[in-house]
Symmetry: C2
DNA sequence: TTTGATTAGTTGTATAAACAACTATATGCA
DNA sequence: TGCATATAGTTGTTTATACAACTAATCAAA
């Protein structure tokens, strides 16, 4: 009852993800201003490749929470920009392993700095304890729905 | 320093909005399963029209945090589905006022119920106090970036 | 070993978002 | 009044997402 009413009030911003949309737009603007010709979505793929080279497309699907066609096309575009390369797996010919090119590797430091700046701007004025709690809630939400 | 390290760890899920994406997908699935042929984005426009009839496209831009071309096309699609109607303003011929059709009005109750269900599923196991704090943080983030 | 099911990836189609360039109308100031 | 400027909305282009249907390769069980 009380809970229900509470939720109705919160509905809109939770569902539309206004905060994360604002964060993504701010980061995209920073990337553009830095003359880096990549999208947030491409960045999110590179993010996982910086952590571990040679992921398959399916692994990128799982890591980025996208479906297979989305990853196919993101990898297409990353390849066009010469940031990654598809390498057929030796052991399983169905699989493409995705490797960063030198150009793709070089983007890590600069873009991570811009992402860090973006979060600093977004979370300034928010105490660390609240950020931690918020992050926990978002994780629970994700787990509840997946 | 400590703060910086904290943020780096949180980076990815904050920027990609994994929680809100999961919420939106769950609601979309419910809409589809109910045989309602509308997208989340269309729903977010209808949401504001249910609260106040006869908004201009510009007002819908502000309310939904979208740019003008996005609203033009969302209204195009809503009109195609006979859910809203563009009505030229009498006092200012640049302006279209957007009104719900009867069909559009009828969707309110059912879709709000589905949205409410979605949030209940997403936030079950999360105490109300944490939800409140999380909502505050997301609002601050939004305000910090807008 | 053959065949049926599963897995990895691609292609087609529809909707949406961001950005730039555009038209039409309104406003405000000289 | 007239012209510069601002505002409301549209159109074109690129990128991304979701879903369905598809191909190719692998696996597993009879």
């Amino acid at each position: 009852m009380h809970n229900n009413q509470f939720r109705k009030g919160e509905l809109y911003s939770f569902i539309t993800g206004m905060a994360s949309t604002a964060i993504a737009r701010r980061l995209q603007k920073k990337l553009n201003q830095a003359g880096l010709n990549i999208t947030i979505e491409q960045w999110s793929v590179l993010y996982h490749l910086w952590k571990k080279h040679g992921l398959s497309q399916q692994e990128l699907c799982n890591a980025t929470f996208r479906d297979k066609p989305s990853i196919t096309r993101l990898v297409d575009n990353l390849e066009k920009q010469n940031l990654v390369k598809r390498v057929p797996s030796q052991s399983d010919r169905r699989i493409n392993l995705i490797y960063l090119t030198k150009h793709g590797q070089k983007l890590e430091e600069q873009t991570m700095r811009l992402a860090d700046q973006t979060l600093t701007e977004a979370l300034k004025t928010v105490p660390a304890s609240k950020i931690e709690m918020c992050k926990e809630v978002l994780q629970v939400v994700y787990d509840n729905l997946t």
